[in-house]
């Protein structure tokens, strides 16, 4: 035996008491760390959310990745390369955070490649023109930042820390998107048309990114109770609408919503009804690009097989000598 032993103290605590103490810790603003007691449901919800989030970062590389070879200037190309590389890194941060809860990287990867796992519905829409790089950066990354800024305050330490790193980098993503939108919206008539077309296609899918209305969001209550989320889907969506609409209008762009109006009383921009049938179709795998995205991921995994085999063979050889 080693020079010291670590043994559990006789533990008569009931799960009820533990839950009370756990919720008191969250109420005091403490962060839960791996190893701390947590309800099974807290662990389950976090693994679900974090792994979906990780998959979204990984699949999120695909729509923009196709435009790296078609960027209009070398500078834009370097910016886009850096951004897509960041998304890959963010996926890795998040897989790590899920691993601290007992999920394995292998299992999560398998869930993604086999189609068991979900990822953000937004990435099942196609990127059709260069203007889409602007729309994705401003709208999609802008929406993601609101969600992630909230999650940076989450009660689970490793998730909150990953989010903090990610938010610092995402701000660059949003700004490079705004830079593209401003350039095109103040450019030639053809560029303006191209930009408006991209906004028309990305506006509604971006609003759907925040998830179902609070009344149809079964997980919300428990997520808020345990400090995983601090704002509801509808609250975040409204924040996004309020901050984005005036900026796009100032650029002479229009929002593809005939019901959009400013509500003087509340200070909110009110939108028309969201097409939830479309949202659920995309979530269920019937979006415009679901199959294409999965095929691309599987192909990348298969094409990388020889690299993994070479690395493993090299490591084995090194350890043998």
């Amino acid at each position: 035996m080693y020079g010291a032993t670590v043994e559990p103290i006789e533990d008569a605590q009931t799960d009820d008491n533990r839950l009370r103490e756990f919720e008191a810790r969250i109420a005091r603003g403490e962060k839960i760390e791996p190893g701390d007691w947590m309800p099974d449901e807290y662990r389950r919800q976090l693994i679900r959310m974090i792994s979906q989030h990780a998959h979204s970062e990984i699949v999120g590389m695909l729509p923009e990745g196709t435009f790296i070879t078609r960027a209009p200037t070398l500078r834009r190309k370097l910016i886009l390369l850096a951004k897509v590389q960041d998304e890959g890194g963010h996926g890795q941060y998040l897989y790590h955070a899920a691993e601290t809860l007992g999920a394995t990287r292998e299992d999560m990867l398998d869930a993604l490649l086999s189609g068991r796992a979900k990822y953000s519905s937004i990435f099942n829409y196609p990127a059709l023109s260069w203007a889409d790089m602007g729309a994705i950066g401003w709208l999609v990354d802008g929406a993601a930042i609101l969600n992630q800024t909230m999650l940076a305050k989450c009660s689970y330490g490793p998730y909150a820390r990953a989010m903090k790193r990610i938010c610092a980098e995402e701000n660059f993503h949003k700004r490079q998107g705004q830079d593209i939108v401003i350039t095109l919206a103040t450019g030639t008539p053809e560029q303006k048309v191209m930009m408006q077309d991209a906004i028309n296609r990305w506006w509604w899918p971006t609003l759907m990114m925040f998830g179902p209305h609070d009344t149809d969001s079964p997980n919300s209550a428990v997520l808020i109770r345990w400090g995983i989320k601090t704002k509801t889907n509808d609250e975040l969506r409204q924040m996004f609408i309020n901050q984005t609409v005036p900026e796009l209008l100032a650029l002479g762009l229009t929002i593809p919503d005939p019901d959009l109006r400013y509500d003087e009383e509340s200070g909110n921009w009110r939108i028309g009804p969201i097409n939830w049938d479309e949202f659920w179709q995309v979530v269920k795998g019937n979006g415009p690009c679901n199959q294409e995205r999965m095929d691309a991921r599987r192909r990348a995994h298969e094409d990388g097989r020889w690299v993994r085999e070479a690395l493993a063979a090299y490591a084995e050889k090194q350890s043998g000598t």
Binding site: A4, E7, P34, D36, A82, G89, R175, S319
Partner: protein, 179 residues
């Protein structure tokens, strides 16, 4: 069957005289490759002077809550041959684990007991210890090839390079002038 490569915990030093801090983990077939993967995942931006990777299995991790639930029996006579252990504490609620120093111990449990007995150890939210020899550390020779390339790239991956707020204000002001 578990076919995934071992997991290595990654610690990063942002600048001279700053302690290494825990940032995440990578999977790799060996420590050298883990260091390269850590560089690719965590040093896309230039704030890095040094990286350490340590097999996750070599790190003894305890939270304050776990330590309160457990008794550490500290027995000097049973201690093995002494070797240096790195000690990491999480001292701030919103912070991460920060390198605080080394202790000499004959086993991970003794190193943990020694780390727990200090003032910082008593207030820490979490304590990690691992043998110094388990870490693969980048050296000063690695700074140029591994971390310097990121320095030349800040002009296109730094949010400060995009003056969006100013530009939008100018556009809005221009519209006010027209009216």
């Amino acid at each position: 069957m578990d076919t995934q490569w071992p997991r290595f915990i990654v610690f990063l030093q942002e600048r001279a005289n700053a302690p290494h801090q825990y940032v995440g983990s990578v999977h790799a077939p060996d420590a050298d490759m883990a260091l390269m993967n850590a560089r690719d995942v965590f040093v896309r931006r230039p704030a890095c002077l040094s990286l350490w990777v340590v097999p996750a299995s070599a790190v003894l991790m305890k939270t304050a809550e776990e330590l309160a639930r457990e008794t550490i029996t500290y027995n000097r006579e049973d201690d093995g041959a002494k070797e240096p252990y790195f000690v990491f504490y999480k001292l701030l609620e919103k912070g991460t684990l920060i390198h605080s120093g080394e202790v000499d111990a004959g086993s991970p449990a003794v190193a943990l007991a020694a780390a727990y007995a200090t003032d910082d150890g008593q207030t820490a939210k979490a304590i990690w210890v691992f043998p110094a020899k388990a870490a693969r550390c980048s050296t000063s020779d690695d700074i140029q090839p591994m971390f310097a390339p990121a320095r030349a790239k800040t002009h296109f991956r730094d949010q400060a390079e995009f003056h969006i707020t100013t530009t939008m204000q100018q556009i809005k002001r221009g519209q006010d002038d027209d009216e």
